[in-house]
């Protein structure tokens, strides 16, 4: 679905530090900045606003993301609204813009963050210490000031199993990878830990199909199909299979997942799809391990260039390659 949308674009500009698989469709790619190449703040999952510090400047002709956006804004004729001297200037405007709102950052300053190892939002005034724990006063941010129980009636997921698609597919992560893998599929030792997506399947379900460990299995949904080596595990329900989603192209399990949207948040129902399993009666070769390969070279100029990942996790194309 995303690929079809990308193919329809008349123009696509990507600002990024790697040319990720989505950016392969770009018309222009602007070399942006890494986490450690700009000053700023982040709000962690805990609600703590912390300081990101610039450790290095962007290499080569790469620019910071901020510089790029400010320059584009200038060229689009909006310069007077984008006259920021740096990250702290932008943060100070954010503080003012959020003042009095529910996500109030007004009382958070760079100085305060550095002094206190982070400040929890909301923080409405400069003398406010921040709010590590919400609702101690039992005054909630809802219209009536009370916490609201939301009536939820059970309904089936958007896609349920049937005779053609009898197995539930769910997806998730592995510890060595992050999101689409754009960043973590480029780090050798993280790839070595878990080089390719595997189909987790309970031995009892596998036995029904005669599937053995590392046998290639084609997983077919109403939208697409993809092939994964089976991993027989007793740590999953017998009616459910699991594939992690960090890979792109033909290894992407999200080609198969359901496009039903949550009515409120509009998030796709990635975690529940109906599939069928087609064992291919051939073993997938074990992925190569590269961790002992000497890399030599200096930072930024590793040599020799390591092999691209598609060669490392290559799926055999014919029976001659399956041994």
């Amino acid at each position: 679905m995303i690929r079809e949308a990308l193919e329809k674009l008349e123009f696509y500009c990507a600002i990024d530090f790697f040319l990720n698989e989505t950016a392969h469709y770009a018309d222009i790619a602007l070399a942006g900045s890494l986490h450690e190449e700009e000053e700023g703040t982040v709000t962690t999952a805990e609600g703590r606003v912390t300081r990101i510090r610039q450790a290095v400047t962007p290499p080569g002709e790469a620019r910071t993301d901020t510089e790029i956006l400010l320059e584009l804004a200038r060229r689009l004729g909006a310069e007077k609204y984008f006259s920021f001297g740096g990250a702290e200037d932008i943060f100070n405007e954010l503080r003012v813009a959020s003042k009095g709102g529910t996500a109030d950052y007004f009382g958070i300053t760079y100085e305060k963050i550095e002094k206190n190892m982070g400040v929890f939002w909301p923080c409405p005034s400069l003398d406010h210490p921040g709010t590590p724990r919400l609702w101690e006063d039992r005054k909630f941010k809802t219209a009536d000031g009370k916490a609201h129980f939301n009536a939820v009636s059970y309904r089936d997921p958007g896609e349920v199993t049937d005779a053609d698609y009898p197995v539930i597919l769910t997806t998730g992560r592995v510890v060595s990878q992050y999101l689409s893998g754009t960043q973590t599929r480029r780090i050798g030792r993280l790839v070595d830990q878990y080089p390719e997506p595997l189909l987790e399947i309970h031995p009892k379900l596998a036995a029904q199909y005669g599937i053995t460990d590392r046998e290639l299995v084609r997983v077919v949904s109403r939208r697409a199909s993809a092939e994964f080596p089976a991993q027989l595990v007793e740590t999953i329900r017998e009616d459910t299979v699991f594939v992690p989603y960090h890979w792109a192209g033909k290894h992407s399990i999200n080609q198969l997942t359901s496009g039903h949207l949550d009515p409120v948040s509009k998030i796709p129902e990635f975690k529940v799809s109906a599939v069928r399993l087609e064992p291919l009666r051939k073993q997938s070769p074990p992925p190569k391990q590269n961790s002992l390969q000497p890399s030599g070279g200096s930072p930024g100029h590793p040599s020799p260039k390591p092999p691209p990942i598609h060669e490392l996790a290559r799926i055999p194309k014919g029976p001659n390659e399956t041994t």
Partner: protein, 360 residues
């Protein structure tokens, strides 16, 4: 128009992913860095504190930042490799333009920026301002996120702005807003250590937020019970007192059934419900009917017990036992179940926090 400019293999050869390994002896300069920068990991929303070692404008290694409060120097398998993001052979060092048949070619900033701006202007004048959309990333700093939002509204004047959180955590945010009016977890992580029962619903914390696990162990050391709802026996579920491997997508049947049990046994904090909440009657009614259906049908049927009733009896027994051991009645359960419900299918809920432990 935008098919790939050349085949995928050529693009991968040119732009990766290639694998970055450190030299066996470590990067030169690691032992004598120019500076040590206290900053954060870039690989998830935990944003663990880390110190980066810098030599000659390159990140050459890292050290734990033990003073930083929530991870206290701890890092996960991703965190200890995070420094290899820098100095990567795939790094874009200049702008690129698409060349049909060949892939991408180096171009200069003037060309790249003027082409981008002229295309924005062409598309917007032809189809209207909303025809140009912007997609942002959750890994950006607050400053960059703010800038992207302002850029879309003020410079592009488009209504079409979204970010990858749409594919990740927007449901937890929406649920928090509906329940509490604010999109944030209720407690800081150190509060977890004071929990008596911790219920983890549909989140594989030990792989996705690994450094959070430490706070769970702290609570466990103090006797906290752990309940994990997940179709897989994830690493954290292997340590649980109760694992509920429900069928994917049937979470609301389980929570409705739990609410039914709370009502049936009057394990309710009436003071809290009456004075600080709204909508309880409606929620209880809706959920009780759901629960009845779920109890009689195998929608939630677990692979172990096959019987939701048995599972819930164990759940109830665990709750009662926990409360007995802590010397307090089980009536506070409901207050915390609001937290559990608000989180929808993700994150965790800590149940029965002790009254106001002081934290920094």
């Amino acid at each position: 128009m935008a098919k790939l400019p050349t085949n995928e293999e050529t693009l991968i050869d040119q732009f990766g992913p290639h694998l970055n390994y450190p030299p066996r002896e470590g990067f030169p300069g690691r032992d004598e860095p120019d500076k040590i920068v206290e900053t954060h990991c870039c690989f998830c929303g935990m944003q663990c504190g880390i110190k980066l070692l810098v030599k000659g404008n390159k990140v050459v290694g890292f050290e734990p930042w033990e003073e930083f409060p929530f991870n206290q120097g701890r890092l996960c398998p991703k965190g200890v490799q995070r420094y290899l993001q820098n100095n990567h052979t795939d790094r874009l060092l200049h702008p690129l333009k698409r060349v049909e048949g060949a892939g991408f070619q180096r171009t200069d900033w003037e060309h790249a920026l003027s082409r981008t701006v002229s295309e924005i202007q062409r598309i917007q004048s032809q189809y209207g301002p909303d025809a140009f959309a912007m997609l942002s990333g959750v890994s950006l700093t607050n400053e960059k996120s703010y800038l992207v939002g302002k850029f879309a509204r003020v410079a592009l004047k488009t209504r079409n702005l979204d970010y990858n959180g749409r594919l990740c955590m927007v449901s937890a945010g929406a649920a928090n807003k509906k329940a509490f009016g604010l999109d944030r977890g209720s407690n800081n992580y150190s509060d977890l250590a004071h929990a008596e029962v911790i219920m983890i619903c549909g989140t594989n914390v030990s792989e996705t937020f690994p450094t959070l696990t430490h706070w769970l162990w702290d609570a466990r050391d103090k006797g906290a019970k752990l309940i994990v709802v997940d179709p897989r026996l994830t690493p954290i579920a292997r340590t649980a007192d109760l694992h509920l491997p429900i069928r994917p997508g049937r979470d609301s049947a389980l929570y409705g059934t739990i609410l039914h049990q709370l009502v049936k046994h009057d394990w309710l904090d009436h003071d809290f419900i009456d004075n600080s909440t709204s909508g309880f009657e409606e929620a209880a009614r809706a959920d009780v009917s759901t629960a009845t259906n779920a109890t009689n049908s195998p929608v939630t049927g677990t692979s172990r017990t096959r019987n939701i009733g048995v599972t819930l009896a164990r759940f109830g027994a665990l709750m009662k036992k926990s409360c007995r051991e802590k010397g307090s009645p089980p009536m506070n359960l409901c207050r915390q179940s609001t937290a559990a419900r608000s989180k929808g299918s993700s994150r965790f809920a800590s149940i029965r926090l002790s009254p106001s432990p002081t934290t920094t």
